[in-house]
């Protein structure tokens, strides 16, 4: 269900329309951080879908990603660590007319929030979940997360990480999410489209945005400059179509990008409307 590619918008128009430019800037993200790129993609996706700002909720948990909503002029909610999807579930069910978009980090979504993540996917409630994966807890100074590759260093794995990382897209797919996609902060036009498709999807839609943290993960693992880390994302990415034709051995250490799963499943709020009808509570 890829949408036709369109000319990019004039950035300045979008800035003043969708950002709280007079209130919360400068932002707190480090130079070279991918979060701003994801925020840009999110704004362009919302703009293309012509959603009313009043109907959009952008919410988050805790961490560097958690600060994103405060910069954006929507209904914004900065919840507790890992719990954003649980807040979102209540909010969406209470008012299904809202377009609920949840931004999380890899630690936020899959460590402390792992339970909520798999259950939101299982329930298939109409929420867009954007997981920014920079392989590390950045806000607290660089501790390993469930997405830190084995062997990599962090302040809490100074001799190398002995745990195996989650494949977040696989986790989402096997938990029942009907729409799962992976993009990177290097492939911005792709990320724009993936987020756009995810928001348009009726159901629980996950976009994993592979990102960079040059300040912690990059430094501890000698990944080079922010530009070097961008190039690493570029070189690791394999489009899903191409990956299907490649032998598994060649896909080791690569990032399969694009839409990985897109199917139709009954949505939770719709199903609950059926319950209300059967109970005779429909107004």
């Amino acid at each position: 269900m890829s949408l036709p590619h369109r000319m990019p918008h004039r950035t300045s128009d979008l800035l003043y329309k969708y950002l709280r430019t007079d209130k919360k800037f400068p932002h707190l993200w480090c130079p070279g951080c991918g979060n701003g790129i994801v925020m840009g993609s999110l704004i362009r996706a919302i703009d293309r879908l012509k959603l009313s700002q009043d109907d959009v909720v952008v919410m988050s948990g805790i961490g560097c990603s958690g600060r994103m909503p405060v910069y954006m002029d929507f209904n914004t909610l900065h919840t507790t660590h890992g719990r954003a999807l649980a807040f979102a579930t209540g909010l969406k069910l209470a008012n299904p007319a809202l377009q609920v978009i949840v931004v999380m980090g890899d630690g936020d979504a899959t460590a402390i929030g792992g339970n909520h993540f798999i259950h939101a996917a299982r329930r298939n409630i109409d929420i867009t979940a954007i997981v920014i994966n920079n392989h590390i807890y950045g806000m607290t100074g660089g501790q390993y997360s469930p997405a830190t590759p084995s062997g990599d260093r962090s302040t809490t794995s100074p001799m190398g990480n002995i745990e195996r990382p989650f494949d977040i897209c696989n986790l989402a797919m096997s938990s029942g999410a009907p729409f799962v996609a992976r993009g990177t902060v290097y492939h911005v036009t792709l990320l724009d489209r993936l987020i756009e498709n995810a928001i348009a999807k009726r159901g629980f839609a996950v976009v994993e945005a592979m990102s960079t943290c040059p300040t912690t993960y990059g430094r501890y693992n000698k990944k080079g400059s922010p530009v070097d880390m961008m190039k690493q994302l570029r070189d690791a990415a394999v489009p899903a179509d191409k990956a299907r034709e490649m032998p598994d051995a060649d896909l080791q250490g690569r990032l399969i990008t694009g839409v990985l799963k897109d199917m139709e499943l009954p949505e939770y709020c719709d199903l609950y409307d059926g319950i209300i009808e059967r109970a005779g509570g429909a107004s």
């Binding site: 700002q53 900065h78 507790t80 719990r83 807040f87 579930t89 909010l91 069910l93 509570g281």
Partner: protein, 406 residues
């Protein structure tokens, strides 16, 4: 608050034979005398108060509330969801509250422990919600099917940080109904989480209740903004200290965060703004003590000894007081319906008039600390802790009354 205490000796059987205040003459047209448990009364009260969202997780002895909500809410056009745990349940009701719903959950000790972090979020972000907490034996898994009052301090200080909270504690099935409505009302009016503190005895015992009430209770709604969105300051310090609350989707786009925030809802680290927020969060409860604190006193006019008890223990205490008075003892009963904010003035006045205050409770002595603190040495305060996780009996309390009587 009209409470319908009746002699615990007399079981509610039929309205013709029933004695005491609960009879209140014949049933009015449309009224029904029902036999109901405390958990069921909580659900009926919540629905009467306009609750239209419930998120919960099964836990003894509170499960019946979720079960009944799952049946009743969709028929009323409301929403019920069973979440993956109590952390998520608490998060979901806050989310629903932000979406404009009147939301509640129900749990017991272990689940209430899990809710603490998000309970603090509701305090900080000022989201109305109600938690029915049915106390069971603890610590840890403890005694799922036994009563206890050991979470009195947890309701006050369970979540981290300095904060105020409202906790209401009924002692009968009819009062569970009315105090559930009051809890919802207070959560709306003051934009704060309210805890309805039950115990296993109140939750599971069945009593007569006449519904609808003789006089319908007022149903309160949260203050809402009437100004245009560009004038809306979501955490403004209004005279009531309770700022109007817009639901998401109503056109007032604003930011809600658990971070310490300024009046616009944006994070702040400025000392003056930090202090102003923390002060307002406390004062919006404190300055409304008159409307929040409810205490019931019986037989105190001639008394020199008072028994101070809440929840199911107050039922035993009343029986003990009646028995003691039959024997000539000058003893009265004081019962806080509001546990937090603590009825400071009532206890201060009591301490000036009494020689002794006895505090029976099903824990190792929690309520008694507050009584002692506010009695300020003006009378003797005698603790009667009981932590066998069986209902504290009238005989135990009577023995203590006779022991301290001059």
């Amino acid at each position: 608050m009209a409470t319908k205490n009746k002699n615990p000796k007399q079981p509610a059987v039929t309205r013709k034979k029933n004695n005491g205040a609960a009879r209140a003459g014949a049933l009015k047209k449309g009224q029904k005398a029902l036999l109901m448990s405390g958990n069921e009364a909580c659900v009926e009260g919540a629905l009467a108060a306009g609750v239209n969202f419930f998120a919960g997780y099964p836990i003894t002895p509170a499960t019946e509330i979720a079960e009944l909500m799952a049946r009743r809410l969709p028929a009323a056009g409301g929403k019920f969801i069973q979440m993956e745990d109590e952390i998520a349940s608490m998060a979901a009701i806050i989310g629903a509250g932000i979406g404009g719903a009147k939301a509640m959950t129900a749990t017991s000790g272990p689940g209430f422990s899990l809710m603490q972090e998000n309970l603090g979020f509701a305090v900080m972000a000022e989201i109305p919600c109600v938690i029915a907490h049915v106390q069971r034996g603890g610590p840890s898994t403890g005694l799922p099917t036994h009563p206890s009052q050991a979470d009195i301090m947890q309701t006050r200080w369970g979540t981290h940080g300095d904060h105020s909270i409202i906790v209401l504690c009924p002692n009968s099935v009819p009062e569970t109904y009315t105090l559930t409505i009051t809890a919802i009302n207070m959560s709306e009016r003051y934009r704060t989480p309210v805890i309805l503190l039950l115990d296993e005895v109140i939750a599971h015992m069945r009593e007569k209740i006449i519904l609808p009430l003789d006089e319908p209770m007022d149903i309160m709604e949260r203050p809402r903004p009437s100004m245009p969105p560009e004038w809306y300051i979501p955490y403004e310090e209004t005279p009531s200290l309770v700022p109007p609350m817009a639901a998401f989707g109503e056109g007032y786009r604003y930011h809600i965060t658990g971070l310490t925030h300024d009046t616009h809802g944006f994070p702040t680290q400025k000392p003056a703004e930090i202090e102003a927020l923390n002060r307002r969060l406390r004062l919006k409860i404190e300055q409304n003590r008159k409307n929040i604190v409810m205490v019931q006193a019986e037989f105190v006019d001639d008394a020199k000894t008072a028994v101070f008890a809440c929840g199911s223990v107050s039922r035993s205490a009343r029986r003990a007081v009646v028995m003691a008075r039959r024997g000539g003892a000058k003893v009265g009963l004081v019962r806080p319906l509001t546990i937090w904010p603590f009825p400071v003035v009532a206890v201060q006045r009591l301490a000036q008039r009494m020689d002794t205050i006895i505090v029976p409770e099903m824990n190792q002595g929690q309520l008694v600390r507050e009584v002692e603190r506010h009695a300020q040495g003006k009378c003797r305060v005698v603790s009667l802790p009981d932590y066998k996780c069986e209902l504290l009996t009238p005989e135990t309390i009577l023995r203590k009354i006779l022991e301290v009587e001059p």
